[in-house]
Symmetry: C2
Subunit: 281 residues, 2 copies
Amino acid sequence: MKQVAIVGVGLIGGSIGACLRENRLCERVVGVGRNLERLRLARKAGLIDAVETDLPKAVAGSELAVVCTPVETIARFSITALESANSCVVTDAGSTKQTIVEQICQQLSSQPERLKRFIGSHPIAGSEQSGFEAARRDLFKDRLVIMTPTQETAAASTDLAKRFWESLGAQTVLQSPADHDRTLASISHLPHLIASALAASTPPEHLPFASVGWGDTTRVASGDVELWRQIVRQNRQPLADALRGFQAAVQEIMTAIESGDDQTLVRILQQGKTNRDSLGN
Amino acid sequence: MKQVAIVGVGLIGGSIGACLRENRLCERVVGVGRNLERLRLARKAGLIDAVETDLPKAVAGSELAVVCTPVETIARFSITALESANSCVVTDAGSTKQTIVEQICQQLSSQPERLKRFIGSHPIAGSEQSGFEAARRDLFKDRLVIMTPTQETAAASTDLAKRFWESLGAQTVLQSPADHDRTLASISHLPHLIASALAASTPPEHLPFASVGWGDTTRVASGDVELWRQIVRQNRQPLADALRGFQAAVQEIMTAIESGDDQTLVRILQQGKTNRDSLGN
């Protein structure tokens, strides 16, 4: 590819840029954003080649645009990108898919030619940090990217995005937007809320005693509050379902503790260990 | 000190031995256990100087005995140790204190001279691993050790144990056994049960998508099931109280999600982030 536009140069966008540049996967990486000063710092940090505040202009010269902004703005920027060029494939990196894909499909329902070039993506990578300062060129290495083509998506767009993510070292898998959101509720959004609930409900007088275990279990609660508010807001139903399953397990433990039912306790501890051990370190 | 006896040479006992030997903090470290073969392997790994299956014999020649077995056997071994010698100070490394201290004080209530030499301890250090193979000589560096002297404990015993833990690089703090158990319920035992509940309730079809966030949040669920059954069993009431506080926070999040109450959601996310950030990385 000659040019890739990264819309939103934060942890994810910056890491994409770093990897593209490091491995010379395209001739030019254009970082798109509102804050010219931040964009220039990202360029200075070696994450992008060029800076641009005008999205249509950046997209016009690109074969691929990757929208890496907070989830509530992804649909809007993707639509602008699709409307600004006639050949640029547009994808994103949002942690939710159903709402975003629906918004784009609805607003462009009368322009199926433009919808052919949109393919939703979500690289399952990141950290509790945010901002391009935390970007890492190996962020996507051996990670999974879930791609969510719709009936409108052209096979060529899916192929291009697939090759793009794989060039960053990731593996790709296709799911429906709804399946993606259920999966992510379970393995990412629910853990985040649990970590937040645990960290928030720990009595202040006990915090000075917190050690490695509490620190691991609550690590993701350090994540950016506004980014996570948007994610939770966009994935309400699957997240409520996942929360209910978790609450049932907690209640089972509570009942086992109160009634001295070691058998149930051991069964849950063992199932948890088996599932956790299957992931490795 | 001339000789320290370590009763139970696993992760904790092995790490104590490694640190004592590395820094030449005593002339001889005796590892006490039932399994001679495992003890010999621990000696070969450089964690102890000598092996002994006869607890009274090991204690008789020691100034300090540290009982590092699973919590349900700590009281029994501590009592044997206290009865086997007339000058050896006995402490432990158990994650619970109230039950252990009560059992020892009750059984030795007619021998207050022996009780003077017992001082409960809990180094807040460890990992999801177990066994002496995971021992590390820096396990206690900059960690907190909660010590729980009773009215029966001699000041000289507390002093000796305090100097012992500090020589391993730890800081010490005194609490009542009941306060210790409430603190640990909140910062260690509750996180463990939450991690287990999350790992156990994650649908199997979603596990292949689990990434860093799920992995961090569930890490401690890999811990030894039997060790944790015993800890939970010994700390039922404080743990049930901590669980209720956590359940309330989860229910508040659930209600906020279902009613679209972003204000409450943001308040909890922000409180969780503030508490987590206060710990550092």
